[in-house]
């Protein structure tokens, strides 16, 4: 029996096609449903194979040489840093594989948050009559008291801007997480470092609908699928 036949009884099966096309408005809700519904998972898996072929229908255009050069320059620079991090002379100890996940509820953890930044402040800045930027200030962990961070929300786009952040140890990187509940912390592919002066910014990808907090932790390079260290900053939405 195909998944379509098995799936006739599930009223959410109609969401499988828009979901795999990236068009389902409540994608997060359906993602949670997929955790409980085997027939919808099978339907999604079948339709996903079809969607994965769609890029091949696009007229092929050669990528600009400058694009390749920019990407490679960044990659080679970061590879050099990592090489240094793993050399015997480096101060930072070599790291093998990913850390074990931190077994705490991140939202419920008794984090020491700097008193000065304890209250998240939301302000709205009107840039033009038609465009507004909502800025939410982050709560900062006590062990990085000089840091400041804010989330800039504009037209559904979110950008995290940090300053005064310590550079992560060689081999580590900052990772952005989306917390939808105290027990549901979702990784993103937003990984970032900071400049010598501690400044940095990163686009927060994905749908923030239903997200309670945006958090940042320090993770091994490449990121983690579960947080392995306490949050350094949290922005409450």
């Amino acid at each position: 029996m195909s998944s379509r036949e098995e799936n006739r009884g599930c009223e959410r099966s109609v969401d499988a096609a828009p979901y795999v096309l990236g068009a389902l408005a409540d994608a997060e809700g359906y993602r949670q449903h997929l955790g409980e519904c085997a027939s919808c998972r099978a339907e999604v898996a079948e339709l996903q194979q079809v969607v994965d072929t769609l890029p091949a229908s696009v007229p092929a255009i050669r990528a600009p040489e400058a694009l390749r050069e920019r990407v490679l320059a960044t990659v080679r620079s970061e590879a050099e840093l990592l090489k240094a991090a793993h050399s015997p002379a480096a101060d930072a100890p070599p790291r093998a594989g990913r850390r074990r996940p931190l077994r705490v509820s991140l939202l419920g953890a008794g984090l020491a948050i700097a008193a000065a930044a304890a209250a998240a402040v939301a302000i709205t800045v009107g840039l033009r009559s038609s465009t507004q930027v909502h800025v939410r200030t982050a709560q900062i962990a006590a062990n990085i008291p000089g840091a400041h961070a804010s989330l800039r929300l504009r037209s559904g786009h979110a950008e995290l801007v940090v300053s005064g952040m310590p550079q992560p140890p060689l081999g580590d990187i900052y990772e952005v997480w989306l917390a939808r509940s105290p027990s549901t912390v979702q990784p993103t592919d937003a990984l970032f470092g900071v400049t010598n002066t501690g400044s940095g910014s990163v686009n927060v990808p994905g749908d923030l609908h239903g997200v309670q907090q945006v958090m940042v932790t320090r993770e091994p390079r490449g990121g983690s699928s579960h947080p392995t260290s306490p949050p350094l900053l949290r922005v409450t939405l």
Partner: protein, 179 residues
């Protein structure tokens, strides 16, 4: 990819060479602007480099994973842009809008599988192809599409599903190009 996950820049360069054109082509098809497509492709490859340890071959090829990242990044970019730009990107006539110098870059894809997919898309009923293109290439949500087309949401979802199922029937056992 194991080498890339181990921070091997030379291995990454091989991945970049192999998939840069496909990634840029998809980004350009979705964004409709060369500068934005470059930004999307650049962000995508750097994301791939920094999160290579998350690659799981059991869930698809490197190309599928790469283009999935590009698609998500492009959707994020499109949803930050105006509806006008997105409508343009969702138009299947985008190729005709390319400026003359860029048209010289457009290469005929000799890959038989690619031709097969284009034919399969073309053979879909117009209303099914339209909702699939608006969703996948235009970055519109199903509710936005329903509003744009003045069509019930359930009808839009149904057309998406029927269209994808017909494509599956057309394509048989063909799957996304691996690498």
């Amino acid at each position: 990819m194991e080498l890339v996950a181990g921070a091997d820049a030379d291995a990454f360069e091989v991945i970049l060479e192999r998939h840069a054109d496909a990634a840029f082509s998809l980004a350009y098809r979705m964004c409709g602007r060369r500068s934005l497509a470059e930004d999307v492709a650049q962000e995508s490859f750097l994301s791939l480099w920094r999160s290579a340890t998350r690659f799981d071959r059991a869930r698809g090829s490197v190309r599928t994973w790469t283009l999935g990242i590009v698609h998500n990044r492009a959707i994020d970019a499109l949803r930050r842009s105006s509806v006008h730009d997105r409508r343009r990107a969702g138009d299947d006539a985008i190729e005709r809008e390319l400026e003359a110098p860029e048209r010289t870059d457009v290469q005929a894809m000799s890959n038989a599988a690619s031709e097969e997919i284009r034919v399969a898309l073309d053979e879909l009923p117009t209303e099914q192809r339209h909702v699939i293109e608006l969703a996948y290439f235009g970055g519109f949500t199903h509710t936005e599409i329903a509003s744009m087309l003045d069509t019930p949401i359930g009808t839009v979802k149904g057309r998406m599903r029927l269209g994808l199922e017909k494509l599956r029937g057309h394509l048989g056992g063909w799957q996304a190009v691996g690498a």
